[in-house]
Structures are given as structure tokens and as C-alpha cells.
């Protein structure tokens, strides 16, 4: 063998090994899309919450699995008996990344600024009448009407507290932060990565095992994300197609974490357009959905059939709510009663183009409808176009079935009931065009009670959902289960569905 050949071989091997060595204490989260959309903590409403929840903190944080609140910036809080006054006692000695101290004034300023800017999810603060600074470390919220302010204040969006002295919108937009969280911005390259470094003066300290830095990488291609996870160049990814998840299952170096999400897939029926203006036809339709086939065939078991419209795991979900089953006999019965024994009509279903799960659900449904002589036209559209058609002035020009996912802005069942089924003057998300004063009254009372008497509120929500089951203005098909893929060596990770796709990196460490 010639010397040149050996030399070349050595060169190739050296080239391949170059750069391998001790890895610093850095975690890598690979994400499918641009991470930082909004930098302004008041405006936040998009992907950035996965990073922001590590840079900023709320007064309290919600744990839906135990239905309890963890103190964060507030050590404790209390509410008045009428649910109209909420007092939060702040932790002392908490520093912003800017070096300034957290005070009641800062909390007041942050929330008021968020409300004033009126962007993103700021409307969650709608019940707030006034914010009062009682003393340096006590802040009191006065509400217009009773509301569960603990749930609002723990929101994944719009509930961050920041330093009033560093709150210029342009300054934020340039890639800066002024939170109190464990990590702060080190570097940001739009479209490529965001690097967070630990904030030395973090109030919980840095004893024990923690990552020094966290990298958020933008990797759009799912197969690349999967390979990076397998190769160990990534620690965590939030969403992979089910087929990739299935392929990763047998790899001992990768772990799949499954959690119920607060997200469900809904089919909303156009109650103002024949034949779905007839409750009997709507009921028949609810019986034609092959629920189990969809869960097995489309979601590979990563979902469970919905019961009512509030997803499993969120308070307001109850076994007392009726559930439809797949039964073509029942469907035939209701169709015959409605005067369509042979079917003989056509329906238009719209869904978001590019969402494979939605398309496959529609395809499966189409085949069962065909057995009853009902033709289903499936139209995948960009979200904006789907909304535009749904908001067309003439109800008969709109779709018959609007298929889409819904999730709450903060963990409250109200969003599922009011937005899609409550009477609205202007169509925003009520693509059922449903209006029922009895239902409206029930959910309004439930919302008021939510901050005072949770049990009674749940009773009312159960009653309201049973009305929806009876009148069938729409059906929730399945509650999604999140399947996260992470390196087995990554420890401390808990998936909290109230903060979708967020990894609280301070809680995590790597075990070699």
C-alpha cells in the first residue's frame, strides 16, 4: 500500500474526528420553525414561549396534573370571598437580568403595559379593573367580575413580569430580554439559533445539576430532527410525525414521553345551512365518525376519543358528559327521521392544508359517509383562507364542516365552550354559528363561579356540554396526546400541557 494512500486515509479519519471532545454543559432543543417571533413579553403569542418561559417568569405557575399552583415570583396569594380581589405577596430579593429588583410596581407596570398594548393573548386580563400596589412587595388586583385570576396570572402567554426600566418595544425586538428567569439571551441568529446562558443571580440559585446554556435550533425537516436526536447532537424535540416517533421507539438512547394535551380536533357543523341546520342530521353525522379507527389509524394511539368538548386532563372534563360512538345504525335512524333515508346530499369539509392528520381523518370519515349515501368534499386550505370562507357574509356560501384543532390560551374550559359555541355578534371562531341563550347563560355563570367555587363551575360546564351533545352543533373527535422525543440521558423533564412545547430547562440535567 502506498504511503500516499495511508496518508490520505489518516487525513480522512483525522478530518472526521476533528472537533470531537469534551462537550460543555449545554442542552439542545431542536424546533421545527423559527423560535423567536415576538420578543416583546407583552405581545408574545407564538413559538417564542418555549424560550420565553425560561427567560421570564409569572407570579405563579399552574400544574394541571395536580390542579395546583406553584409559587414563582409570588410566594403566596389570597382571594376575597367574592372572587373580586386577589392579593399576591411577592418574593423578596428577586433580581431582573438587568440587575434591578422585582417589586410590586414592576408587576403592576408589566401587566398594565400588556393590557394597554392589546396584542396577542393580552385579553386574558379582561376581568382586571385596577392593579393596586399595596406595598413594595404586595400587589392587589381588583376585578370587574369574578374570574380565576390564578389561572390567568399563570398563563403561558401574556403573564410575564419584566423590568419597567427596560421595556422599550424596539429594545426587545432587537433580541433583548429583561426577565427574572433562570436563563438570559446570549446570542440570537434569526432563522438559525437562539442561545440562552444561565443568569448567575437567579433567585433559586445554581446548586445542584443544571445546564449552563441552552441552544434552540431551527430544524424544519422532521427526519433531520430525528437523526440529530439519534446522533446525540440534540437533546429534545417537541413534535415529530407519528411515523418518526414509531421508528424511534426501539432506540434505547431515545425516550418518548407521552402526555395528554389540552388540544382537541373538532368538527364544527354549519347550523345555519341545510341540511345541517337540522339537529337530526347533525346527530346522525356525529354517529358516522369512526372514532377508534381514526385514533388507531391516524394517530397510532396517540390520542383518546373526546368526551364533550373539554379535553381530558383539563378541569371541566367529566365522565358525566355524553359521548357519541361510531354507529351507522344510529346514523341511519336519525337520517330517516330527518327525511334523508338514502342520504343523497353533499357536504363540504374544510381543513388546514398540509395537516396530514386532518386530511386522513377526513378521508376515513368520507368512506363511512359514503356508505350512507352522503358525499363529502374535502378541501385543504391555508388557515387564513379557511377562516375567510368560514366568515363569509352569506351562511349558505360557507363550509358545512369546519375541521380544526383548538387549545386554550390559559387552562380554562371556557375557551372551548364560548369561542366555538357561544352566541357571537361577529364570527371569530364560532364556525358552528350556533346560538342558544340557555347555553350562553350556563357558561356565563360558570365563568363567574370559576374563581369562587370550582366544583359548582364544573357542574355548570358539564350541563352546558351535555346541551352541546344533544344539539350537536359540532363534535370533538379526539384529544391529542403529545409524544415528545428526548435523549434518555436528559433527566428532570416534565411535560406540562399548560405550557405547550415548553421545556423548563432549569429543572433538567444530563446524566451520562
Amino acid at each position: 500500500m502506498s504511503r500516499a494512500f495511508l496518508l490520505a486515509l489518516f487525513g480522512i479519519v483525522a478530518f472526521g474526528l476533528w472537533g470531537l471532545g469534551a462537550q460543555p454543559n449545554v442542552a439542545v432543543y431542536v424546533y421545527n420553525s423559527e423560535v423567536m417571533i415576538f420578543w416583546d413579553p407583552s405581545d408574545t403569542y407564538s413559538n417564542e414561549i418555549i424560550a420565553m418561559n425560561n427567560m421570564y417568569e409569572q407570579l405563579i405557575r399552574y400544574d394541571p396534573l395536580t390542579d395546583s399552583f406553584q409559587p414563582v415570583l409570588a410566594e403566596s396569594y389570597e382571594k376575597s370571598a367574592d372572587g373580586l380581589t386577589w392579593t399576591f405577596y411577592l418574593r423578596k430579593g428577586v433580581k431582573f437580568h438587568t440587575g434591578n429588583e422585582l417589586t410590586a410596581e414592576a408587576v403592576k407596570f408589566s401587566i398594565e403595559r400588556t393590557i394597554e398594548r392589546g396584542m396577542g393573548a393580552s385579553y386574558i386580563w379582561a376581568p382586571v379593573e385596577e392593579i393596586e400596589v399595596v406595598d413594595r412587595y404586595t400587589v392587589r388586583f381588583h376585578l370587574k367580575y369574578p374570574a380565576p385570576l390564578d389561572l390567568i396570572a399563570s398563563g403561558a402567554y401574556a403573564a410575564f413580569v419584566f423590568d419597567p426600566e427596560y421595556s422599550d418595544h424596539e429594545w426587545f425586538a432587537a433580541g433583548n430580554d429583561s426577565g427574572t428567569g433562570p436563563y438570559t439571551v446570549e446570542a440570537w441568529k434569526p432563522g438559525d439559533y437562539l442561545i440562552l446562558k444561565k443568569f448567575d443571580d437567579y433567585w433559586r440559585g445554581w446548586e445542584g445539576k443544571h445546564f449552563d446554556k441552552v441552544i434552540f435550533k431551527v430544524v424544519p425537516e422532521p427526519s433531520t430532527r430525528r437523526l440529530m436526536l439519534e446522533a446525540g447532537t440534540a437533546d429534545y424535540t417537541n413534535m415529530l410525525p407519528i411515523t418518526e416517533i414509531e421508528a424511534l421507539k426501539d432506540n434505547p438512547e431515545v425516550e418518548i414521553v407521552t402526555t395528554p394535551s389540552f388540544q382537541n380536533l373538532l368538527a364544527l357543523f354549519n347550523t345555519q345551512k341545510p341540511p345541517l341546520d337540522n339537529v337530526l342530521v347533525r346527530r346522525a353525522l356525529a354517529y358516522t365518525i369512526p372514532y377508534q379507527d381514526i385514533i388507531e389509524g391516524v394517530r397510532f394511539g396517540y390520542a383518546r376519543q373526546s368526551r364533550g368538548v373539554v379535553p381530558y386532563g383539563l378541569w371541566g372534563y367529566s365522565d358525566r358528559v355524553k359521548q357519541y360512538t361510531y354507529s351507522l345504525e344510529a346514523a341511519r335512524f336519525y337520517l330517516a327521521q330527518a327525511g334523508y333515508p338514502e342520504g343523497g346530499f353533499k357536504l363540504l369539509l374544510t381543513h388546514v392544508a398540509g395537516d396530514e392528520d386532518e386530511r386522513r381523518v377526513a378521508e376515513l370519515w368520507k368512506s363511512t359517509l359514503a356508505e350512507l349515501g352522503i358525499e363529502l368534499e374535502i378541501r385543504g386550505m391555508p388557515w387564513e383562507a379557511q377562516v375567510e370562507l368560514g366568515q363569509a357574509p352569506d351562511p349558505t356560501k360557507r363550509q358545512d364542516i369546519f375541521l380544526f384543532y383548538w387549545w386554550p390560551d390559559y387552562p380554562h374550559p371556557h375557551s372551548f365552550l364560548r369561542e366555538m359555541f357561544g352566541t357571537r355578534d361577529e364570527i371569530l371562531f364560532n364556525f358552528t354559528y350556533y346560538s342558544n341563550p340557555v347555553f350562553d347563560e350556563l357558561i356565563a355563570r360558570a365563568e363567574e363561579l370559576a374563581g369562587i367555587d370550582r366544583t359548582e363551575a364544573i357542574n355548570l360546564y358539564v350541563e352546558a356540554q351535555n346541551i352541546l351533545m344533544e344539539e350537536a352543533p359540532g363534535v370533538a373527535i379526539y384529544d391529542l396526546k403529545y409524544a415528545r422525543a428526548k435523549r434518555t440521558s436528559l433527566k428532570g423533564y416534565v411535560d406540562n400541557p399548560a405550557y405547550p412545547h415548553v421545556v423548563f430547562w432549569y429543572e433538567c440535567w444530563r446524566e451520562e
Binding site: I12, F15, E34, K189, K213, T224, L227, P382, E384
Partner: protein
């Protein structure tokens, strides 16, 4: 016609082309059903938020007025704000362009390095096994879908053999340990200039797979063009004469044939360069390459019209400019070509 008059006329015509492209793209992005204001404020916006966004984005004005406002600002260097990233489009493009250019330049280099000799050999040894091989490479290069090839290369060289990195432009952790001074935005050049050899090697390793993937099309085209034009030239009388004089084949090929055959190859290469700007869309997605192609495909997915406009104008400008440069260059190189 003098070269200055020619260039001036071409510049004027180019301006008309660019104007046409801008109008067409502007119309197309607006004809497609989309609600940019919803993208701007987020999926759950209230009616007031949407109305406010329409005002901010100028969507409440008539279409022609929107276009005039856009083009007026465009000329002044304000390419609008991307609806998706909320950043100025020009800054977005500026921060992603070097990544794409670096990838394209390296892939073009590979295409020429391997394509040209293969094309020449293929023509010189027409009809032999070598020629068949050359033709196979050229057909495969043009026909293989880049994203498929990219994934296969990832599976073989990154996953199985573990020789090369899977994706990204440089390992972020390596970059953290060896911070790179940004001078040109080209990692290879910047790391060399600042003597940061760790990053240089790492960036080079990361470049191999995407560059090879992206080079297949220009490589195939180079082989094919070089072979075809060379074969044509080799059939000319003056080549027969040269051979009749008993000149060595290498001299005939290298000195007399090649010179006349290279013109069309250069033209094609220049155009493939502009083509590569668009071809990176898929390659950059597969390799998580933070360049313009990925930015473009993400913009198109959500009809982020200021970003789409910006990229289209840039690609159109590149095409027009390269065409002009190549035409002028060929005219200068080859006195037989007249500028008309």
C-alpha cells in the same frame, strides 16, 4: 454598437424586467387567498386587533396604492417588515444570504472541478465506457431529486458511517467554545481570516453533504454541455486540419478545441448559479441550513408577501445581472460575437 451604449440599453431593459417581476409577484401574492393581518397578530386575534393590523400593514388601502407605497419604499432600501419573523426583510435577507452564497459557491466549485474534466473526457473518448459513465453522471445529476439525494447522503455518511455531520452550518457548541468574528458572513473565510481553524474544519465538514447534494444539478449540466459543445467543435474542419498536421491530441483538445467550446458552458454555469439560489429551497430544509432558501420556503408556506417580494426581486436581479455580465464577458473574450 459601442459597449457602453449596449450596456446602457441592457440596463434599461433590465429595469423593465424587474418592474414586471415586481408587479407580477405583488399581484400573485395578493390573489392567493390569504389573511396577512391574521398572521401578523396571531391566530386568536380579536376583531379590533385584526382591524388595527390591517391599518399598520396598509391593507386597508387600494391595491395600486399599496404597490406604489411598496415600490417607493423598496427603492429607498426599505423592503418592508416580514409578517412572519417581524423583522425588516432586508435585514432578514442580509443575515441569511452569506450562508446560501457560501453553499452555492462551494457547490458550483465542485460542479466545475468534477464536471468539466468528465465532460471533456467523455467527448474525447466518445463511445467508450468512459463516455457512457460521463453520460450516466450527467443524466443522474440532472434527474435525481436533490432532497432525496440529501437524505440518502445523510443516512449513509452521517447516520451509518458517522463520518460527516448530519445537518446545520456549523456545530453550535463548537461555535460557542470558539467564538467566530463575523467579517463577511462566510464561515470558511471568516474562520480563516481570524485564524479560527477549529471552526474552519467544522464548517468545512458541515459543507460537504449539502454542497455535494446541491452540486449534482450543475454538475450534470456541466458534463452534458461540455461534452456536447466539445463534440461539435471536434467535428470542425480546423480540428481535422490540426490533426492532419500531426499535432498531439492533447494539444488539439486543450489548445484549439476547448477554447471554442467553453463559451456555452460558462453561460450555462452562470445561469445555474441563479437557479441554485432557488434550488437551495429544499436542500437547505433537509440540512437545516440557515440560508435564504429555507427563509423563502417558510415565507411561501404562510404567504409572507413582503418576504416573498424581497426574495423574488433578489433572484430576478441576480438572473438579470448575471445574464448581462456573461453576455458582456463573452463579447470581450470572443471578438466574433457582436453586441447588438
Amino acid at each position: 454598437m459601442g459597449i457602453y451604449v449596449y450596456v446602457t440599453r441592457r440596463l434599461f431593459l433590465s429595469l423593465i424586467v424587474l418592474c414586471g417581476v415586481s408587479i407580477l409577484t405583488f399581484l400573485l401574492t395578493r390573489v392567493v387567498p390569504s389573511r396577512p393581518e391574521i398572521l401578523w397578530v396571531g391566530p386568536r386575534a380579536t376583531a379590533e386587533q385584526i382591524a388595527k393590523a390591517r391599518e399598520i400593514l396598509g391593507l386597508d388601502k387600494p391595491l395600486y396604492q399599496q404597490y406604489l407605497m411598496y415600490i417607493g419604499a423598496f427603492v429607498r432600501g426599505d423592503w418592508g417588515i416580514s409578517i412572519r419573523t417581524k423583522q425588516p426583510v432586508l435585514r432578514d435577507i442580509g443575515s441569511r444570504l452569506p450562508a446560501s452564497l457560501e453553499l452555492i459557491l462551494v457547490s458550483m466549485f465542485l460542479a466545475v472541478l468534477f464536471g468539466l474534466p468528465l465532460g471533456i473526457l467523455s467527448a474525447a473518448k466518445a463511445g467508450t465506457v468512459l463516455d457512457h459513465l460521463g453520460r450516466l453522471v450527467s443524466v443522474a445529476g440532472v434527474a435525481l431529486p436533490a432532497f432525496w439525494l440529501g437524505m440518502i447522503l445523510q443516512l449513509v455518511f452521517a447516520k451509518e458511517l458517522k463520518l460527516l455531520p448530519l445537518a446545520e452550518r456549523v456545530d453550535t457548541i463548537t461555535l460557542l467554545l470558539n467564538p467566530l468574528k463575523h467579517i463577511t458572513g462566510f464561515y470558511l473565510i471568516d474562520s480563516l481570516l481570524s485564524g479560527n481553524f477549529v471552526v474552519f474544519i467544522d464548517a468545512l465538514k458541515h459543507l460537504v453533504l449539502p454542497a455535494v447534494t446541491l452540486s449534482t444539478y450543475p454538475l450534470g449540466l456541466t458534463v452534458r454541455m461540455a461534452r456536447a459543445t466539445l463534440l461539435e467543435v471536434l467535428g470542425e474542419d480546423y480540428i481535422r486540419t490540426a490533426r492532419a498536421y500531426g499535432l498531439r491530441e492533447a494539444k488539439v483538445l486543450g489548445k484549439y478545441a476547448l477554447k471554442n467550446a467553453l463559451g456555452p458552458v460558462i453561460t450555462v454555469l452562470a445561469l445555474t448559479f441563479a437557479y441554485s439560489l432557488a434550488a437551495t429551497f429544499l436542500v437547505e430544509s433537509v440540512f437545516a441550513w440557515p440560508g435564504l432558501g429555507r427563509y423563502a420556503s417558510e415565507a411561501i408556506m404562510v404567504v409572507d408577501y413582503p418576504a416573498i417580494m424581497g426574495i423574488t426581486m433578489l433572484v430576478a436581479f441576480t438572473y438579470v445581472a448575471l445574464n448581462l455580465v456573461v453576455d458582456v464577458m463573452l463579447a470581450v473574450l470572443d471578438p466574433r460575437i457582436r453586441l447588438e
